[in-house]
Amino acid sequence: MDASDQRCTDPTVLDLWHPLVAVSEMATDNVERTLLLGFEIMYGTDRDGTRFAVRVDEPDEALPVLDRHGYLWTSLGAPPADVFTIPETAEPDRRTLNAASIKVATSAPRAIENFLDMGHFPYVHTDYLGVEPHTEVAEYRVEIENDELWARDCFFYQPMAAASAVGGQLSEYTYRVPHPYCVMLYKSSPTDPSRSDVIGLFVQAMTQDTIRAHNFLSVIDETSSDTVLRRFQQIIFSQDKPILENQFPTRLPLDPRVETPIRADRSAIVYRRWLTELGLAYAVIPAG
C-alpha cells in the first residue's frame, strides 16, 4: 500500500509513543513489517533478544523502543521518557494479556471515541454490554487531570458485562484516556468486586484512515482460560468494527457543529476539545 501521502508531519503525534505489536506474539530472530503514521516500519528481536524498530526508508537510524504493558512501543519523534503507567498491572494475581490486534478501516480517534461511548451498548453489543430497554445514559463526570482525560461515575445496566459474569448487573465504569490514541476502562471485577478489571484499547494509527487496535486486558479471574478471556473481547470488538468502518468522515471532526453531541456524549465532547487544545492534526479534521 502506498501510504506516502498519509505520512504524519504533526509533531504532537510524531512525539508520542505508539504500540506496534504484542511482545508475546514476537518471535526471536525475526523481522516483521507494519505501518505507523504512514511510514513503513520494520521491527523485531535480535538473536540476543534485543527489540528494535526502524523506518524502512531510514534503515540506519534505530527508533527508540520500549516494552510496556505487553506491547512493543516506538516513536518517530522525540518521545517522553516513558509510556503512561498502569499501576494495577503490578498486582501479582492479575492476568495481563493481549486479547487481539485487529486492523480496522477507521481513524484512531474514532476508535477511541467509540470505546468511550456507553450509548451504543444496547444496540451494538446487544445482550453483552447492554440490552433494550435499558438505554438511558445517566449523567457522569469528565475531567482533564494531569494531562489525561478521566470520565467517572459512569453507570450502565449490562446483561453480561464480562466473560466471568453471571446475569445482569449495573456496572460502574471509570474511563481513562492517558494518550490521544490510547484508552482504558476500569470496572469492578465480577470475581472480586473490591478491585477493578482493566480493559484497554491501544491504537496504532497505521495511516490517518486505518488502524491496528491492540485490545489490552488485565483482569482478576482465576478460572477462565486465556482463550475464553480473549474470545469475549474479540466478540465485543468485532461488533464495533462494522460501525467504525461505516462512519463518515473517517477522520474525527473536531468542529462541534459537524456532528450532534448530546449530554451522553460528554466524554467525546471533552475528548475532541482536548485534541484541539493539544493542537493534534493527524487523523482528525481540525476545527476550521
Partner: protein, 559 residues
C-alpha cells in the same frame, strides 16, 4: 454557461430497489444517499449519514415510519428526517433542530429521482408520460458520466415493436455512473424477458466499449461533496429547550364527526411539508377570530403527511371549539404553529399504561400507535361517558386487544378501574394520563396511593382548573442578561418579560402545557400551574411563567 450539475434531477434507484423495510445505498455527484420507502409508500432520499456520529444510515433499520440508526438507536421521521427519539435520554424530546439532511424525491417511470439543489422542479419526460413505461435493468459504468452520455444511443435508435428506450444517467462520481433505461411501452408479459435481455446485452456491449475508452483517459479526481452541518448549538448543560418554529398555513382536507360532540380535522400542508411529529406533541391553532387554541396531534411518529386533531364542542369555553365546529369547513385555511412536545413518550418502558378520559385520547392515540409500530408492550384505557363518545373507534379497533374501553363509569368506578389498570409499580413501568381535570387529579392521586413514583406518572391537562391568585407583586432578576424587572399584581411574569423585550415561547398561557417554563436560580416560586409534578414543585428550580408567582420578594431566573 451550463447550470451546475447539482441543479438537475437524476435517477438514483429503481423503484423496486426501494423495497419496504429496506434501506438502499446510492451515490450522486460524490454524495452518498440513503434511499428508503416508508410504509405509507413515501420514498425518502437522505444524506447517508446520521448527524449524531456520522454512521451510514444505509446500515440502519427501516422501521416502517421511522429510520433507526444502527449505532445509538436514534430515530428519524419519514418525510422530514427530523429526530423523534434519542434512547440515551428517553425522557427528553429531541430538539426540532436535530434533523438529517433530506433531498426532494419523487417516483416516475419506475425510477426514484432526486435533485441535490431542492429548488428546481422536475421536468417530465414527455414520451414517458403516457403511463405505460417500463424500466429496464440498470447498469453501472466505470466511466465518467459525460463520456457515457455521449455514447448512449440517441433518438429512436433501438426502437422496436416493444417501444423506444429512453436513457438516463446517474452521475455517481467523476469516474462512475449508472445508466437506467425506460421503455415507452410495457411489453406483453410473454415478451418481457426477451426484451429485457436484448436491451441488457446492448447496454453491456456499450459498457465494454466505453470503459475501454475511459481506461485510456487520465483518471479524474473524485468529487467531494460538502458535508451538511448540524444546525445544533452544543449545549450539554441540560435537556434541549423547546425552540420556536414558524407558523404555517394548512388546509382542512377532511372534517368529520368522530364521536358525539367531537369533530376531527385532517390538516394538509399548503406551502411547506409539515414539521416532524413526536408522540404527545400539540400544536397551536390560530383561529380567524384572533384567538389561539391548543390541540394534541393524534399522528404516530413518522406519519405526518397530514396532521389529525380532534375538537370537542365546549359550549362554556372561550368559543374556539364552537368556531371550529360551526365555522371551519373542508377546504378552509387555518394557521398552525410548529408542534411542541411537553408530553414526550419514553420508549424504554417495560410496559406503558395509557389512560385517556374522553377527548384526552388524542395524544395517547399517537403514543399508542407509535408503541404498537415499535412492538413495545402497552395498554390503552379509554374512559368515556357512552359508546358514542369514543373517538377514532376505527383506529382503536386497529390496536386490537391493547385497548380497554370503560364506558359510563361514575367517578368512584373510574378510580377503581384506574387502580386496577395501574397495579403495583415496578421498575421501568410508566403511565401517561390525559383527560378532564377531575379525572386526571383522581388518577394521579390513585397512582400516588399505590406507590407510583412521580417520575413514572406523566400527565397533560387540557386546561388549568386552579384559581390563579395574581394579587402579589415581586421582583424578577434575569441572571444572564442582568435585567431586574418588577412584576406588579395582576400581571404575569411572562407578560412582564414580553413587555421588556425578552422573547419567551408560550402556548396555552394558563399553566397547562409547560411551554413557557424557565429555570429558577434563586427564590421561592408559588406554583399555580398543572404542568409540574409534586417532586418538581418541591424542587423549586423551575417555574411556569404564564401563571406562577413568587413567595420571596425576588426570583432569579436563568434568562
Amino acid at each position: 454557461m451550463s447550470p451546475p450539475p447539482e441543479s438537475a434531477w437524476y435517477p438514483v434507484a429503481r423503484s423496486d430497489d426501494a423495497a419496504f423495510r429496506h434501506v438502499h445505498q446510492a451515490k450522486l455527484l460524490g454524495r452518498e444517499l440513503a434511499v428508503w420507502r416508508a410504509d405509507d409508500g413515501f420514498v425518502n432520499v437522505w444524506e447517508n449519514r446520521c448527524l449524531h456520529r456520522g454512521v451510514r444510515l444505509s446500515v440502519g433499520m427501516n422501521e416502517g415510519m421511522e429510520l433507526k440508526c444502527l449505532y445509538h438507536g436514534w430515530r428519524y421521521a419519514n418525510r422530514t428526517g427530523g429526530c423523534t427519539y434519542i434512547p440515551a435520554h428517553p425522557a427528553d424530546s429531541p430538539a426540532r433542530t436535530i434533523c438529517n439532511a433530506t433531498f426532494p424525491a419523487l417516483e416516475r417511470y419506475g425510477l426514484v429521482w432526486t435533485c441535490l439543489d431542492g429548488d428546481i422542479d422536475f421536468a417530465p419526460v414527455d414520451l414517458l408520460e403516457g403511463g405505460g413505461s417500463f424500466p429496464l435493468r440498470a447498469l453501472p459504468f466505470a466511466a465518467p458520466p459525460e463520456l457515457v452520455r455521449r455514447h448512449l444511443p440517441a433518438g429512436d435508435d433501438h426502437a422496436g415493436e416493444d417501444g423506444t428506450p429512453r436513457w438516463f444517467v446517474q452521475p455517481v462520481d467523476a469516474d462512475a455512473c449508472v445508466v437506467y433505461g425506460v421503455l415507452t411501452d410495457t411489453p406483453a408479459p410473454d415478451r418481457r424477458i426477451a426484451v429485457l435481455r436484448r436491451h441488457a446485452r446492448r447496454l453491456e456491449d456499450l459498457r465494454a466499449e466505453v470503459e475501454e475508452i475511459a481506461a485510456t483517459l487520465p483518471r479524474p479526481a473524485p468529487l467531494v461533496a460538502a458535508m451538511e452541518q448540524a444546525d445544533v448549538p452544543v449545549d450539554i448543560g441540560g435537556p434541549a429547550r423547546t425552540v420556536g418554529g414558524t407558523d404555517q398555513r394548512v388546509v382542512v382536507a377532511r372534517k368529520w364527526e368522530t364521536a358525539a360532540e367531537v369533530v376531527a380535522f385532517e390538516l394538509a400542508p399548503i406551502d411547506e411539508p409539515l414539521p416532524t411529529v413526536q408522540p404527545g406533541a400539540h400544536i397551536d391553532v390560530r383561529l380567524p377570530n384572533g384567538s389561539t387554541r391548543q390541540y394534541s396531534l393524534t399522528n404516530p411518529a413518522g406519519d405526518q403527511a397530514r396532521y389529525v386533531i380532534a375538537v370537542k364542542r365546549e359550549p362554556d369555553s372561550r368559543g374556539g371549539s364552537i368556531h371550529l365546529h360551526d365555522e371551519v369547513h373542508e377546504g378552509d385555511e387555518l394557521v398552525i404553529s410548529a408542534p411542541r412536545n411537553n408530553f414526550g413518550l419514553r420508549r424504554d418502558a417495560v410496559e406503558t399504561t395509557l389512560i385517556a378520559g374522553g377527548i384526552g385520547i388524542t395524544p395517547l392515540l399517537s403514543m399508542a400507535e407509535t408503541l404498537a409500530a415499535d412492538g413495545l408492550p402497552f395498554v390503552l384505557h379509554c374512559f368515556v361517558r357512552s359508546a358514542d363518545h369514543l373517538c377514532f373507534s376505527e383506529r382503536l379497533d386497529g390496536l386490537g386487544d391493547a385497548v380497554v374501553r370503560h364506558i359510563g363509569l361514575d367517578p368512584a368506578g373510574t378510580a377503581a378501574q384506574i387502580r386496577r389498570a395501574l397495579g403495583a409499580h415496578r421498575v421501568a413501568r410508566h403511565v401517561y394520563i390525559c383527560g378532564p381535570g377531575p379525572m386526571l387529579d383522581a388518577a394521579r392521586r390513585v397512582a400516588g396511593e399505590i406507590g407510583w413514583p412521580d417520575e413514572a406518572v406523566h400527565f397533560e391537562y387540557f386546561a388549568n382548573p386552579n384559581e390563579i391568585d395574581r394579587s402579589n407583586g415581586f421582583e424578577i432578576s434575569l441572571a444572564r442578561s442582568g435585567l431586574t424587572l418588577e412584576v406588579p399584581a395582576g400581571q404575569s411574569i411572562l407578560e412582564v418579560l414580553r413587555a421588556n423585550g425578552v422573547g419567551l415561547i408560550s402556548s396555552c398561557e394558563q399553566g397547562a402545557c409547560g411551554t413557557c417554563i424557565v429555570d429558577v436560580i434563586d427564590g421561592d416560586p408559588i406554583h399555580h400551574d398543572v404542568f409540574l409534578n409534586a417532586t418538581e414543585r418541591a424542587a423549586g428550580d423551575r417555574i411556569v411563567t404564564c401563571v406562577s408567582r413568587s413567595a420571596s420578594g425576588r426570583l432569579v431566573l436563568d434568562l
